[in-house]
């Protein structure tokens, strides 16, 4: 009797708490997906795919056309800014007729974008008008060279049996209890003061040298990953736009890394994109030297978010 009551007590609280958390999750993240890195464990591709499916099933699927979805890494997410400052939100403001959503994940490389984020969209059965894809090159080259800095598990191939995921069932299956509160509390929503570029110290080996890039024969692998991402994106969207993540190249030199090497694989990424038919590839080279637009070497400040949004609005038809 005692043990049974104990179990029932736990189960009742689990049901009640999960219902509240599911409701709050679904109502708080509409235009930009929750930061999945808030998960207390390693960020797994499958779980991320479930969360992307959950987000898109709840937001994009019921939305009337035309719908535009951003898929990418931290640049597309708008790191480190609150949602209204990000270029995705500003782009949305410039295109009032489009319904714009952002399903990007901070720290995702191309393999993760393919096997977790776009995989989630495939599982949600998504068909949208436009997909705007950030091609995260630096992290992808790192991963291809088997260097990882994040708490991301190496992605497994996309599991297409996940299907549509509901908030309630997802929260019920993951009894995190207080662990859900960091999801409910969007720490990225805090307004932050604008500031210029700060070249902080980066992890050793963060930017792969030209020698390693050539010796490890990373370019064909990079092209293969880009092709996989864009081909999957084409199954989701009528029109696919893609751009290599902008980066402030003179800052790379300031951080004592080979800017030429970084430039080489950024250029290779664009070439890889152009090799995929039916994709609009946007060249971000004009942003590589504009110091005033950056918050750090690889992310825009608020001014940069605005300028990039205008540039996107001009280039995305």
């Amino acid at each position: 009797m005692f043990l049974l009551s104990l179990l029932i007590g736990g189960l009742v609280l689990h049901l009640a708490w999960s219902s509240v958390m599911a409701f709050l999750l679904s109502s708080r993240y509409v235009h930009r997906m929750v930061d999945v890195r808030r998960w207390p464990e390693e960020v797994e591709a499958r779980r991320t795919a479930e969360m992307v499916s959950m987000y898109l099933t709840h937001t994009v699927a019921p939305s009337p056309p035309p719908a535009t979805v951003f898929f990418g890494s931290s640049v597309a997410y708008g790191y480190p800014w609150q949602e209204e400052v990000t270029f995705a939100a500003r782009y949305a403001a410039m295109r009032p007729a489009e319904h714009v959503f952002n399903a990007s994940v901070i720290g995702a490389d191309l393999a993760f974008i393919d096997n977790a984020i776009l995989c989630g969209a495939t599982n949600a059965g998504l068909k949208v008008d436009k997909a705007i894809i950030e091609l995260q090159v630096v992290l992808s080259v790192n991963s291809l060279a088997r260097i990882t800095f994040w708490k991301f598990a190496p992605p497994e191939p996309c599991d297409e049996t996940i299907g549509r995921v509901g908030h309630w069932s997802f929260v019920m299956r993951h009894p995190l209890a207080a662990g859900w509160l960091p999801f409910i509390w969007d720490d990225k929503a805090s307004p932050k003061p604008e500031r210029g570029l700060e070249v902080a110290e980066v992890y050793a080996g963060y930017f792969i040298s030209r020698e390693d890039y050539d010796n490890l024969k990373l370019e064909p692998k990079l092209h293969a990953q880009i092709a996989a991402v864009l081909n999957r994106a084409k199954t989701i969207a009528r029109e696919v736009y893609a751009f290599p993540s902008p980066i402030y190249l003179p800052g790379v030199r300031e951080a004592r890394y080979e800017a030429e090497s970084v430039h080489a694989y950024q250029t290779a990424a664009l070439a890889g994109c152009r090799a995929v038919p039916g994709v609009h590839c946007l060249d971000t080279e004009s942003f590589y030297t504009r110091r005033e637009l950056y918050w750090n070497l690889t992310h825009f400040n608020q001014r940069g978010q605005g300028v990039f949004a205008e540039w996107l609005a001009q280039n995305v038809k």
Partner: protein, 484 residues
Amino acid sequence: MLFNSYFFLFVFLPTALAAFHLLRRESWPRALAAVSVLSLIFYASWDPRYLALLVPSLLINYWLGEQIARTRRRLWLVAGIVANLAVIGWFKYSLFFYVNLTGGAEAPDFLRDIALPLGISFITFQKIAYLVDIWRGYPKASSFGRFAFFVLFFPQLIAGPIVLFRNLDRQVGRGPRPAARYRAMAYFGLILFAIGLFKKVIFADGLGYFADTIFAFASEQPSPLHPADAWLAALSYSLQLYFDFSAYSDMAIGIGFMFGFRLPTNFNSPYQASTMIDFWRRWHMTLSAFFREYVYIPLGGNRRGAAWQAVFVIVVFLLTGLWHGAGWTFVAWGGIHGLLVLTNHLWTRWSTIRLPHLLTWPATVLAAVFLWVIFRSPNWAVATKVLTAMTFSAPEAATRALNDTLAYGPAWAMTIAIGVMALLLPNSRRLARHVRRGRWLPGRTVAAPAHPAFVVQALIAGAILYFAIASIGTMQSKFIYFNF
């Protein structure tokens, strides 16, 4: 292996309970031995090398106890105390003394590489108390198995409560209890354990985020600290430490009950104390009792006049500070507490004015909060920075410590809510007793498992346990007192 880890909760604890309760029906010594062996595994799970210290020290102290009891020669007692203090001195204080005695010279590698064995401060004090008690005429352990069980019993092995041999062995000596008695004790223990786990995972770890972030900011950033940040850090740490350590004690006592043993109470709502003397009667009670019984009273206590009593009080508190850590901030923390306790004694003795509770209570809590800043700070520079900001004497701060500025609202709400609980609500032991007796329901007694009160209590305990266990995730944090 932490109490707040899934392996402990779902594998180790059930195994230990099953082994003990199955074996106690057959053979009481075997049941005790099984728990002792499992306790060694529990201790070795952090680092098996620790056993190389624990096991020989166990054997030597048992042998010393035998010698003291047999010969009644003071030499054995002195040898035992010196040997135990030498061990803790080497592992915990050698680097501190080296640096201070050499005027800050670079310490050799072998001193810097000394790893502090877990729980050494607690284990050492228990063994010293055992030897002193035998010298005083209390019975020694009747067998090595009983002595080993006293030292190793895993709920209290790492961070107390500091159990005296005579208290635990008296219960061991009674042998197995009736099954109904075990059931009642296990039920109470489970409620206490659930409350402790909840306090640790939700309150202490939740508040720890704010305290850690702000103290790290104060330590790493050259800019001054905002007064609100400093107060948030001081208050959240004061509460974190209390809920962390008292949670560990609750869990230890709760597990003790599950095995049918009563471990001593360690906390009695310290932030409800109205004087500093009262605070130390409620905070880490078993440590205070140890120092009172084995240091303060043997030194002379209050028997040698006010001047000597003052000296003894200061000595005891300096040692209390040093016990917590090999650093001058700990010594200062203990010393200032000693001065406040002394002032309290002198006021009680010589002043006829009795201050109202509404004045002394907040004053006591505030003093404790200010002193926790010194206790928590890694060095004097950080302590001064936080204290200066708390007294609004620091230059204006340009940046705030929490990057997420919207988090200040919930941070303050959480700190205030948990603070109100610590200041006004009954502590876990009272709460658990209250729940067990069903005084909040009609009928007032829990007669049988089918009694509605019993069912409702189990439902509540289940809900608390679920929430605490599910919240653990993989971010299991250590208990703060493991560092001491």
